[in-house]
């Protein structure tokens, strides 16, 4: 826990300054998770604000402060899922829909300097995003939380509200689908 239970209790009872402190404690972690879930740096803050907005209006439904973190992760997953679903719906070609690599090339062509390390990172991000783009949003989110965020099965169990065995099956299948896509890419 990044904050003590008392602060969460105060935020839950309507103390706005306590809520601000909770947001400030968790926002970096949540923004990082969102960045890796959605793969679009330009929309990370917007989705992050949506998460904390939902948190503000749902805090009173929280049973106890002990379950705050899984609750916050569940809100994050839901907001990321809603975002990805919206993105799938509108697939017009516009600058923000270009791949990250293409944007970087465009930046470089426009005179911006991209160093070697950043270029390599960009390639990794692009590769993983392309891979995750080939599976469903559900698989993408579950795999990212497990493999990239490093959440344990126990933590995922609390977030998803399903038992460990069901999660293992879902994870196994999701991983198989990503592996299949990975193999198809010939990497």
């Amino acid at each position: 826990m990044l904050v003590d239970f008392g602060l969460i209790e105060r935020a839950r009872s309507g103390d706005d300054s306590a809520f601000s402190q909770v947001v400030q404690a968790y926002r970096k972690r949540i923004l990082g998770t969102i960045a890796r879930l959605i793969g679009r740096p330009e929309d990370v803050e917007d989705v992050g604000q949506e998460v904390f907005l939902r948190l503000y209006y749902s805090l009173e439904q929280l049973r106890t402060a002990e379950v705050f973190e899984p609750w916050l992760y569940r809100l994050t997953v839901n907001a990321a899922y809603d975002y990805l679903r919206r993105q799938r719906r509108r697939r017009e070609s516009r600058m923000s829909d270009l791949s990250e690599q293409q944007v970087m090339m465009a930046d470089a062509a426009a005179g911006g300097k991209v160093n070697e390390e950043e270029r390599r990172r960009g390639k990794v991000r692009e590769k993983v995003q392309a891979l995750l783009g080939k599976v469903s949003d559900e698989d993408r989110i579950l795999l990212t939380l497990k493999e990239v965020e490093g959440l344990s099965l126990k933590e995922l169990e609390k977030i998803y509200g399903v038992n460990e065995n069901a999660l293992k099956v879902r994870l196994f299948r999701a991983r198989q689908r990503v592996l299949k896509a990975h193999e198809a890419e010939g990497t």
């Binding site: 601000s20 947001v23 400030q24 926002r27 970096k28 972690r29 923004l31 990082g32 960045a35 890796r36 740096p41 990370v44 803050e45 992050g48 604000q49 904390f52 907005l53 503000y56 209006y57 390599r120 990172r121 960009g122 990794v124 991000r125 590769k127 993983v128 891979l131 493999e147 990239v148 490093g150 991983r175 990503v178 592996l179 990975h182 193999e183 990497t187």
Partner: protein, 111 residues
């Protein structure tokens, strides 16, 4: 030499890719206007919710007024005189058969 199965090698490659991805995506810093924009959104949602409730309340008041008006107009028209009579049973019988006695008398004379 120990030969790794193809599936296992792909698994390892994928695991390495996840780790690289994690390193390539560090937690971003929030911009300076993250909190002000968040509070603006919270306030906007609060106003929208209040306004929705206000609209609902107004709609209910209007519906209640309309219903009252309709009842006020229709009720007198639906109001019918009571089916019961103020007169007694004997009086009603008497009214209905007032000529019977005369008819009997008239019949008796003819015989």
């Amino acid at each position: 030499m120990d030969r790794m199965p193809e599936g296992s090698r792909m698994d390892d490659k994928l695991d390495a890719l996840w780790a690289e991805y994690r390193a390539a995506c560090p937690d971003p810093e929030a911009s300076a206007n993250f909190m002000p924009v968040l509070w603006t959104k919270i306030e906007r949602r609060r106003t929208e919710t209040t306004s929705v409730f206000r609209h609902m309340a107004q709609a209910w008041v209007m519906a209640a007024l309309a219903l009252t008006l309709i009842i006020a107009v229709l009720l007198p028209r639906l109001h019918k005189p009571p089916i019961y009579s103020a007169t007694t049973y004997v009086e009603v019988l008497d009214d209905a058969h007032s000529n019977d006695a005369l008819d009997l008398l008239a019949g008796g004379d003819a015989q």
